[in-house]
Symmetry: C2
Subunit: 255 residues, 2 copies
């Protein structure tokens, strides 16, 4: 097991931002600048083509860190951010761009490539959780949330299915093909978001993935609009959902 | 046109509560105890078998009145609350209870009876809006919201479809049969809620009604659980949705 190495620290929009590496995997940990000794952790994963510090990540982190006093960690996915692309990554990306240019559906390529990336990334998230829980400000007993949309759902569904330390999870905007079997093993509360007019992911596909979660408590948020029109207020909703289940820093939470 | 007659006034859990009649129709108006001269109005309608001051109504009103400074008005539906039941009401209720006792689907009876009630109630809501806008603290230029679930949706969908003064509407938990044609004429922002495991309303029925709204901006909230397990946090969400579209008291709002 690799241990977590902090490589730099800086303030970031009201948060303490620490870059780290875990073996070859670069990550970022955003934390409150002050607060109780110990606080819940939320693991996030970024979307396809983005990276750990994309504004969608730092914006969501800020809701959780400055709004609720949580820690938030994100890893660069394989082939993304500060990580090298393999020949396989290059070939899959080229195939996606070719399909887009030809007006062919990108879905089957994204499903296949995300599944490949998730098989590498999910074990990295388990290892990151092991390492982050060694930090005294996080610890091994606190609740842990997961938040990942798009490719973050492709990584998160298998990860959460195999990870008993996760208390609640936010997913969305993905096909069920490689994920439904994993989703059937997830029983923690889930909030799932999809776009009603998604040009890539058919309605039935999104509804099928939501339906697959075994969670007694699950919520689906559907909004009108295309794939990229995913509304910003869903981030506020996801942060409230996580806060409902992870509780306040320093507090013991049921379940 | 009947004018609005206030019949009593009392404080109620941080709100100013005024009972009124509009012709034969009893209603309640909840208002802030202090605030700007003028504030947005939300019209609410109660569920089947309930009445204008059911705790679900006063609880939702409190979110809007004490949380956002709005006025909230609810009418007793025909055959409900302080209004007499007709022989037709008695016959429909008996048929519903008979179906329930026999383990037969209640849906077709509820759809038929709610449609009957909505044809009486929707014109009453138009008249109530006319009358309430004569009050100086509401006025004719402010934004107006609508919030009704269950029977409140059966009344609200035809009402909002025919009422250009409504700015945003919250609906949920109803069959599309008598409503989809009206929903196709609704273009204001809508938040719609349904239960994924509703024992009365099939999933496809709820999704079909959501799909029917012509609104460019619409959101669907689905939660796991049976019809009556509708979660309380959806009321918070609906209040935030209305606040997003109605704005602050004393403020001019786009659209």
């Amino acid at each position: 097991m690799h241990s977590l190495q902090f490589t730099s620290e800086s303030p970031s929009d009201g948060m303490r931002e620490r870059d780290f590496t875990l073996g070859d995997v670069p990550g970022v940990l955003w934390s409150p600048t002050s607060g109780p000794d110990r606080a819940p952790l939320v693991l996030m994963a970024h979307g396809g083509g983005n990276h750990k510090k994309h504004p969608a990540m730092s914006g969501r982190a800020r809701l959780l860190v400055t709004g609720h006093g949580y820690h938030v960690a994100v890893l660069d996915a394989p082939g993304h951010g500060d990580r090298p692309r393999t020949a396989h990554d290059e070939a899959e990306i080229a195939d996606m761009l070719r399909a887009r240019a030809a007006g062919e559906p990108e879905g089957p390529i994204i499903v296949r490539y995300n599944d490949h990336l998730a098989r590498i990334a999910a074990p990295e998230y388990h290892a990151a959780l092991d390492a982050l829980q060694q930090l005294p400000e996080i610890g091994t007993h606190g609740p842990v949330g997961y938040w990942g949309i798009n490719m973050g759902t492709a990584i998160g569904v298998p990860f959460v299915a195999a990870e008993p330390r996760i208390t609640a999870a936010v997913f969305g905007q993905h096909w069920p093909d490689a994920l439904a079997e994993h989703a059937k093993r997830i029983t923690v509360p889930v909030e799932f978001a999809m776009q009603w007019d998604d040009e890539h992911i058919p309605r039935e596909a999104g509804l099928a993935l939501f339906d697959a979660f075994a969670s007694k408590e699950k919520s689906l948020h559907v909004n009108s609009g295309a794939h990229k029109e995913f509304p910003r207020f869903e981030a506020d909703s996801a942060a409230r959902f996580l806060a409902r289940h992870l509780g306040r820093p320093g507090e013991r939470v049921n379940g």
